[in-house]
């Protein structure tokens, strides 16, 4: 054993239930078909620190051991002879080890010493002991599939009498060198260079880079400042990161030649972003302001969008995706997704917003998939479970409630899942007397890195997420999240901004320092950074690696020189590491050094504006589609059960309950409500504070399967879905009356497959791009119709997984994440029926639109009649519902979506065992009345005494369907025939026992009485 390396093992005491061990044994059997016998899970801490034998024992027994639960073994691996084989799960060198850090904290407290935090002294591991003597190949499979990820963990396996330990020993080799790269090569080699180095730049972009270095003024400048004529590795990395699709949105800014093959219509789109998003929002803002509604404060120009709640505060809203990282490391990808997204509102403007809630929308392959997997493709169930756990830890451990979300299943997400993370936050209008949303930087301001340290984790995340995944995707792109590190940094930022110590801040996300400093330097006009000062997790990073590493939980802070001492003192007090790494300038250059030797020096204008404009081709060919012929006689009660038990409709309770959806004590409408706690809700509602009843409603609109029929109507429908969910809970459309100050704030997130046409590798690229154009056009039309602005958004353009010659591409997908002000949360409306005798109405009009419906899915049909949004009708209805809510006439309101009217009626009974008696009198065929997914519709109930007033307001927009009953039966008659007769308790059982809860498993006491 090496000098000072001790080990402490904690084993469960005899008679203490070993839940972790039992879960591993069960999962091995269930997922891998491996019989392990009993499994014992033990914790191991390797301590590389000089301790006396007594100190080691005392530390183990008094700080680590729980005397009720554990036995302690020192400097040995203790095991009962019944265990025949073992798996040791350690973390790889440099991988964030929160548990080890916590143990190190405990040791520092125990010894009353400030332990040198720059060195990791304690390494946490788990040692699993297995009853069966499994061969090493099986043990390794179990380790890699269930116990860790080979990208971040190190495993040792074998017979239990030959346990090998592994303790990371980060390399001490220091390589500070910066190399130059020759760009004067053939086009072919330029492309290869880009691919080999993961620059993700195409030929035109590589040529533009080469041209920059060939300019006489560039050459003169470089000579004068001591830079080599050829680009340095760091410079090319900075350019690649800045020009990445992830950071630069080249395809949303491209010139697109569009052609409709059916009509022959042709036109050119001069940037999707500008044409359909930015200009559309500018028009909405003009209409808002003309009507005295000037709450739109910051759009598209910062880490998150900001709108005004009232004279005191701003609401900040951001939704992003973290798809590629989640595909290769589901837990790590999701947790860094949510923590990374948290940093956006935190570091908007000056910074220091208080996080109010998280949301998440997830798209996965079918968790019950039982076919073969491609090389490096993870099973959809594994991705689902890992992502779910990542969101649990990311939200719960940060103290941010996860107030709603959505999970969509489609086999086309089996290669790359979509992981959308949203965060809402509240920021004072003024921080220490300054407008909180402004970012101001002057020549000479200091650059402070705050939070975690820099390692090799996450190198190339920005460029990596901008390309397709394939079997050789790099391990270093994995990022490790540490919620506790970020929580400390967040607490610090909140306090420091309120004391006026921070001039502004930004998050270190994709692209790391290169991106955060590069973007901030755009404000002052330049920056100087010395990478030698950046604190590292371990030595051995080259300068360029330090600059682009995406190690998590970091902020870049801008501090005036005169406030530096106070900032550093506060950081020390709150145990947040702050490092002064340079300063801002106004000379037009991003200047990066290592120990004062030049590493990179790039013209800011070239860096931010030099990327060549992309030209893309879109061509629309209408797909053939027809309505199906269904079985002649259907048992609609049975169909309803089938729908409620289907993958995309069934209950998500097992997932929802593992998220803390009410920390902070402000969540008013939670995902599941009612006396049963099982009635699904439409939008979440969260109040802002304890002093007023103002709050915000939060919803998600996403309908990818409609895109198979028509991408325009899919996008319009998704937008409407998010709007109507907010209307359902009692929200009101904006700008209906002058100066009503009802803010709406929307984030758009496009996740599409590679839409850049290539005759060999992407032959249907034009069609895919045409779909994207249509989606954007629908977005423009929707924002204009409702006068609802976009405030921020993101696009993810290469959601394909390629391996073994196969490509799995996601369907073109857009998520609209919507928030709207609620003036009084006490007057919001939930979805479940409240009382027998209340009258049930259908609000809005049903059309024969079963195309893409869940009903057709039951018969493996797509159909043709895709639901369309009639914006004018919808707006009129939403306005009237708002008027009815002003008079508190609506007792329950549930929006109609997957499964149509029948499913909505069933879900409305899930709150309290009530029933309903419905008569359908419409002229449409019965399946359409029951299951059509026509947009802009609701099931609402009204107290008998309010019926007259309600019908007077809604007029022919409301169709009386029946009444709420006490007998927990859902009865639907049509033309005198009883067409659905279902026990609502049984419907709820079907819904609750659906495939999602079966996959995740319900909570239950897995063992008998305690002792």
């Amino acid at each position: 054993m090496e000098n000072h390396l001790h080990s402490i093992q904690l084993l469960p005491k005899p008679g203490i239930h070993d839940g972790d061990g039992q879960r591993v044994a069960e999962a091995a059997q269930r997922h891998l078909g491996l019989r392990t016998g009993r499994v014992q899970s033990t914790a191991v801490y390797s301590v590389r620190y000089p301790l006396t034998a007594q100190q080691l024992r005392d530390f183990a027994e008094q700080c680590l051991q729980d005397p009720v639960l554990h036995e302690v073994a020192l400097n040995e691996f203790r095991r009962d002879p019944q265990f025949q084989s073992y798996i040791l799960v350690a973390k790889g060198p440099g991988v964030t080890d929160d548990e080890g850090t916590s143990a190190q904290n405990a040791l520092g407290d125990f010894l009353n010493q400030p332990l040198d935090t720059r060195t990791q002294h304690i390494f946490s591991k788990r040692l699993y002991l297995l009853e069966e003597n499994l061969p090493p190949a099986d043990l390794r499979r179990l380790a890699e599939e269930l116990l860790g990820n080979k990208l971040i963990n190190r495993f040792e396996v074998g017979p239990a009498d030959q346990i090998r330990d592994f303790t990371p020993r980060p390399g001490t080799s220091v390589d500070n060198t910066t190399h130059t790269i020759d760009l004067n090569v053939s086009d072919e080699k330029l492309v290869q260079l880009s691919k080999d180095n993961l620059y993700a730049l195409n030929l035109a972009e590589m040529q533009a880079v080469r041209a920059y270095y060939q300019l006489p003024e560039t050459q003169q400048e470089r000579q004068a400042t001591g830079l080599p004529a050829e680009p340095t590795d760091c410079e090319l990395e900075i350019i690649a990161q800045t020009w990445s699709e992830h950071c630069k949105h080249k395809e949303f800014s491209a010139l697109i030649n569009y052609r409709n093959a059916e009509t022959g219509e042709e036109y050119q789109v001069d940037s999707l972003f500008k044409t359909y998003i930015k200009d559309a929002t500018a028009e909405v803002d003009r209409q808002l302001r003309a009507n005295g509604n000037d709450w739109l404060i910051k759009v598209f120009s910062d880490n998150a969008g900001a709108v005004r709640i009232n004279d005191e505060s701003l609401f900040v809203w951001k939704v992003e995706t973290h798809n590629s990282p989640s595909a290769i490391d589901p837990y790590g990808g999701a947790i860094t997704g949510i923590l990374g997204n948290n940093r956006d509102p935190l570091a908007t403007g000056i910074g220091g917003a208080r996080l109010l809630f998280n949301t998440n929308v997830l798209c996965f392959g079918n968790p019950d998939y039982d076919g073969p997997l491609l090389t490096n493709q993870l099973h959809p169930r594994r991705i689902f479970e890992g992502v779910r756990k990542g969101i649990e830890d990311g939200g719960n451990k940060s103290g941010v409630p996860t107030v709603n979300g959505s999970i969509i299943f489609d086999d086309r997400y089996a290669g790359k899942p979509l992981v959308y993370c949203g965060t809402g936050a509240v920021m004072p209008m003024q921080l220490a007397g300054l407008d909180s949303w402004e970012k101001k930087i002057d020549d000479g301001d200091r650059i402070i890195m705050a939070g975690g340290r820099v390692g090799k984790d996450g190198i190339h995340g920005a460029t990596f997420s901008s390309i397709e995944l394939d079997e050789s995707s790099p391990a270093t792109a994995v990022q490790i999240g540490s919620p506790i590190t970020q929580k400390l940094a967040m607490d610090f930022l909140i306090l420091a901004t309120r004391r006026g110590l921070i001039k502004c801040s930004t998050d270190n996300g994709a692209g790391g320092l290169s991106s955060s400093v590069g973007e901030l330097a755009g404000i002052s006009g330049g920056a100087v950074v010395d990478l030698e000062k950046v604190p590292l997790k371990y030595p051995g990073l080259r300068p360029w690696e330090i600059f682009v590493s995406e190690s998590q939980e970091r902020f870049t802070l801008v501090v005036e020189p005169g406030k530096l001492a106070e900032v550093l003192a506060l950081g020390q007090e709150m145990e947040v590491e702050l490092t002064d790494i340079g300063y801002f300038t106004a000379d037009g250059y991003l200047d990066v050094r290592f120990a004062n030797a030049p590493v990179a020096r790039l013209n800011m204008h070239f860096l931010h504006e030099g990327v060549p404009r992309k030209l893309m081709e879109a061509e629309w060919q209408k797909p053939a589609a027809q309505e199906p012929i269904l079985p002649p006689s259907l048992d609609y009660t049975d169909v309803l059960h089938q729908l409620l038990g289907s993958l995309n409709i069934c209950s998500r309770e097992s997932v929802i309950r593992q998220y803390d959806h009410e920390v902070k004590g402000r969540t008013i409408i939670k995902p599941l409500m009612g006396a049963t706690g099982q009635a699904p809700q439409d939008a979440a509602v969260v109040r802002f504070n304890f002093e007023s009843w103002e709050g915000v409603a939060v919803s998600n609109g996403i309908l990818p399967r409609f895109g198979d029929l028509d991408a325009y109507h899919m996008s319009a429908g998704a937008f409407d879905e998010a709007v109507r969910q907010i209307i359902a809970v009692g929200g009101k459309l904006p700008n209906l009356t002058p100066g009503d100050n009802i803010f709406w704030s929307v984030n758009d997130n496009f996740c599409v497959p590679d839409s850049d046409f290539h005759p060999v590798t992407n032959p249907d690229g034009k069609q895919k791009l045409a779909k994207l154009v249509h989606m954007c056009q629908a977005l423009r039309d929707a924002t204009a119709a409702y006068c609802i602005p976009l405030t921020s958004g993101k696009d993810s353009m290469k959601n394909d997984f390629k391996a073994d010659g196969v490509k799995i591409s996601v369907p073109p997908t857009v998520l609209y994440s919507m928030t709207a002000k609620i003036e009084d949360v006490r007057r919001t409306v939930t979805s479940d029926f409240k009382q027998a005798g209340d009258v049930v109405y259908l609000l809005g009009r049903t059309y024969d639109e079963l195309g893409g419906s869940e009903f057709y899915q039951l018969y493996k049909e797509l159909g043709a009649n895709v639901p369309q949004v009639r914006f004018a009708e919808a707006k009129e209805l939403y306005t009237l519902i708002g008027q009815a809510n002003d008079q508190q006439l609506i007792q329950s309101c549930h929006d109609l979506s997957d499964g149509g009217l029948a499913v909505a009626l069933a879900e409305a009974t899930f709150g309290d065992g009530l029933g309903t008696k419905i008569e359908l009198t419409g002229e449409l065929p019965l399946p359409a009345q029951l299951f059509s997914e026509s947009h802009s519709r609701f099931v609402a109930t009204v107290a008998p005494e309010d019926v007259v007033a309600f019908e007077k307001i809604l007029g022919n927009k409301a169709t009386r369907l029946g009444v709420v009953t006490n007998d927990n039966f859902l009865l639907v008659t049509h033309q005198g025939q009883l067409v659905i007769e279902a026990d609502t308790e049984e419907l709820r059982q079907t819904w609750t026992n659906g495939p999602v809860n079966q996959t995740i498993g319900f909570g239950e006491h897995v063992m008998g009485e305690g002792k």
Binding site: H17, K487, M574
Partner: protein
């Protein structure tokens, strides 16, 4: 915090935060709604001697994930309180002993309860502040957020619980299962009515089954006091039920009963303790000088 112009000094609640504690704001809101003054401070302000707990009537350990719960919930924070010395050479545990000896009150919720148990403040049968029971992984093996009903032990010793029979609250934890290692300890707890809160069904009957008992706790126990009744901890979150509108069934209840109070059950506990402390005869002598605290966090 400046509106208190009563002739009697307001009851002072000190709420610790930092290092992953995350329920401090709702805890402060609870005390403010109950009429007390609430001060949130970073634990280091206490450990570094900038804030003295003795200036306050009630010391509060809110919920959260202190130090990420990496070594077991509450373990690292409890360890810090036991071993880390202030500039004067005392530990916060020393201070806590004195605080309790002066007749003051300590509350721990969720992660705060776990800290009090691991620090040996609860149940503290032996009076020597050594851990006697533990809180560990739920029998379900998972974290859960769900609402439960608690039955109040009629013979409990805590002023927080006076006049309460049963109430509803959310649980939000993965490690809330109380384990009592031996029958003697269990008997002592029962004999002295330290198991002040029990998971029960809608009718108030104690239950063992999931999900009414969400974690499989011994004695179906959701909360403990020490033998003085001054230290009180519980897994569920009364500070998350300050208003009717926190309850998942608020909309139906309000529809059925239009006269329903807008206050949540959880607020009653805070009203109880604030009233109790305000009524203590010796209190006026120890009224704190809040102005001496330079940096309340919020």
């Amino acid at each position: 915090m400046k509106e208190n112009m009563n002739q009697f000094a307001a009851v002072q609640a000190l709420i610790l935060t930092g290092f992953g504690i995350n329920c401090e704001e709702e805890m402060a809101a609870a005390y403010r709604l109950a009429g007390a003054e609430a001060t949130i401070v970073h634990l280091n302000q206490v450990l570094h001697g900038q804030v003295s707990i003795h200036d306050y009537d009630i010391l509060n350990f809110p919920g959260g994930f202190s130090f990420g719960d990496d070594l077991g919930s509450g373990v690292v924070l409890a360890n810090k309180l036991r071993y880390r010395q202030t500039p004067g050479g005392f530990t916060l545990l020393d201070d806590l002993r004195e605080f309790i000896a002066r007749g003051k009150f300590v509350l721990g919720i969720c992660n705060g309860f776990q800290v009090l148990v691991k620090l040996g403040l609860l149940p503290n049968l032996g009076g020597n502040f050594q851990p006697e029971v533990t809180l560990t992984h739920n029998a379900s093996g998972r974290y859960e957020d769900r609402w439960v009903r608690l039955k109040v032990n009629a013979n409990n010793r805590s002023p927080f619980l006076q006049g309460l029979d049963s109430f509803e609250v959310p649980v939000r934890h993965g490690e809330g299962r109380l384990l009592i290692p031996d029958t003697a300890t269990r008997q002592h707890i029962l004999d002295q009515n330290l198991n002040c809160l029990t998971y029960c069904d809608a009718t108030g009957c104690e239950v063992t089954q999931y999900p009414q008992n969400p974690n499989g706790a011994d004695l179906n126990c959701a909360g403990l006091t020490d033998t003085t009744g001054q230290v009180f901890g519980l897994m569920p979150h009364p500070e998350a039920f300050l208003s009717l509108y926190n309850h998942p069934d608020w909309a139906r209840r309000k529809r059925v009963n239009k006269e329903l109070s807008e206050e949540g059950d959880g607020l009653k506990l805070f009203r109880n303790i604030v009233e109790h402390v305000a009524s203590l005869p010796q209190r006026s002598a120890s009224a704190p000088s809040l102005q001496s605290v330079e940096t309340p966090l919020h």
